[in-house]
């Protein structure tokens, strides 16, 4: 399939997009920022005669706060997220994760909805949304569904999204004291790199001492889909975060992973670095809490 032979439909509204998709879901492929899909088309990994271009649907490009809930339109770009004043006061972890994705040129175009639909196990926006317990809104012409993010990802590059559905919004609770969150990623260079492993951690601190009343840990690029590391979470909950406890929880995480060897790293290397990523993330959260306590 040459690009010359592919038609592009450019709807002017979400309703129009959902209508087109309803009528032709068997033969049209939705695209957003298309920083992955155009490469897949050029390399023949994706075959389609028609593209449904969503990139100009401004109605799905918003980041707003309602009470303690943050709502991110699926077509918000990484630049929108990185520059968002709403998120800078309520979810820095997601901004930090998006800042590590691609390059400035890619961040201008690539969208968070696209990253979720593309469902790479190394997608860097996914672990933060796992620990935020985010809800995905998906819509078709006929219905709207709200899906907990962990239910959305079924298996390697397989998501709970029917051919006539689009992801339209991601929502989650703001991260505010006594809660905190952080994201860390390991790659082979300092810029423009794909994660060979990443981790996101969300915590709620007890008022006194370095103890967590609630904790969520997610890791990416260490299994066919992003995973919640529940054994580490169970170990960390209601326990003082001593050096030994942090290290033990980090070791548990390696046992919960099922990494592969690929062009970026071997199984052995991935297993070896997983504990240090969680270890560093927990220490970053302890540092962040210390900064709160400074007068």
């Amino acid at each position: 399939m040459r690009l010359s032979d592919i038609d592009v439909v450019s709807p002017a509204s979400l309703n129009e997009a959902l209508s087109v998709l309803h009528d032709r879901s068997d033969r049209i492929k939705p695209i957003a920022g298309s920083t992955d899909t155009i490469i897949q088309l050029k390399e023949g990994l994706l075959q389609t005669k028609e593209l449904l271009d969503l990139s100009n649907l401004l109605e799905l490009r918003y980041i707003r706060r309602e009470g303690s809930t943050l709502r991110v339109g699926a077509l918000s770009t990484y630049s929108d997220i990185i520059e968002s004043s709403v998120l800078s006061s309520s979810c820095r972890m997601l901004m930090d994760a998006c800042r590590t994705i691609g390059t400035p040129q890619i961040q201008t175009r690539a969208t968070i909805g696209g990253n979720l639909a593309n469902a790479s196990p190394a997608g860097d926006s996914i672990p933060p949304l796992y620990v935020l317990d985010a809800t995905m809104k998906v819509q078709s012409r006929e219905r709207t569904r709200q899906i907990p993010i962990e239910k959305f990802f079924i298996d390697y590059r397989k998501v709970d999204l029917k051919p006539d559905e689009l992801i339209t919004e991601i929502s989650f609770e703001a991260v505010e004291k006594p809660c905190d969150a952080t994201f860390l990623k390991l790659g082979l260079r300092e810029a423009h790199f794909i994660s060979l492993a990443n981790v996101a951690v969300w915590v709620r601190w007890e008022p006194e001492g370095p103890t967590l009343s609630a904790v969520r840990v997610a890791m990416g690029a260490v299994a066919p889909v992003v995973i919640r590391v529940r054994k580490s979470e169970d170990f960390l909950r209601n326990r003082a975060l001593t050096e030994d406890a942090i290290w033990h929880a980090s070791q548990i995480a390696a046992g919960e992973s099922s990494p592969i060897s690929d062009v970026r790293a071997s199984i052995e290397y991935r297993r070896a670095v997983i504990p240090s990523l969680l270890y560093k993330a927990l220490h970053a959260l302890i540092e962040s809490r210390r900064a709160w306590e400074k007068p």
Binding site: L3, S4, I6, V8, I38, L51, D53, N56, P104, A191
Partner: protein
């Protein structure tokens, strides 16, 4: 289906300050249309998959990779290529700073660097070296080792 028999559609957008209209297959990339239909050859195709930055142009004021934008997606947009920064046929202060600092060797990647540098300086007129490096993270150069490019952008920021 040969290319002549393939579908084409009319697209219009602003290119380097003037309105242009062009007939092209809707899934052709902006880069192909700029180079092959409009003879704007500043942006280059090197990798064609978003790794190198040689095709960088400004789209509505922000840097994008024209090899990963479809012409249909650019319909109605404001596009500026490295050529668009010249004033009355002369290099602007950023381009001149690249020449002054020997930041151009083979020159192939430089139009992309110019666009990324102009995008940076338009929103941050006085960038630090780390800020320059972040802004250039999506542009590869295999000749200069980047040091002269960073010096050029620092000189441009001083408007010398």
């Amino acid at each position: 289906m040969n290319e002549l028999a393939g579908m084409k559609r009319q697209f219009s957008f602003r290119l380097n300050g003037r309105q242009v209209s062009v007939s092209a297959p809707p899934a052709h990339t902006l880069l192909e249309v700029l180079r092959e239909r409009l003879d704007v050859t500043g942006p280059k195709e090197d990798c064609g998959k978003g790794e190198c930055g040689a095709c960088t142009v400004l789209m509505n004021g922000k840097p994008v990779l024209s090899c990963l934008v479809l012409i249909s997606q650019a319909n109605g947009a404001e596009i500026i290529t490295s050529e668009g920064f010249m004033k009355d046929g002369l290099l602007d202060y950023v381009q001149k700073a690249f020449v002054d600092n020997g930041a151009v060797q083979c020159g192939h990647c430089i139009p992309g660097f110019i666009v990324s540098a102009e995008a940076l300086l338009s929103r941050n007129p006085n960038p630090s070296v780390p800020e320059i490096k972040i802004a250039l993270a999506g542009n590869l150069c295999r000749c200069t080792g980047y040091a002269s490019i960073i010096r050029a952008i620092q000189q441009a920021a001083r408007k010398e």
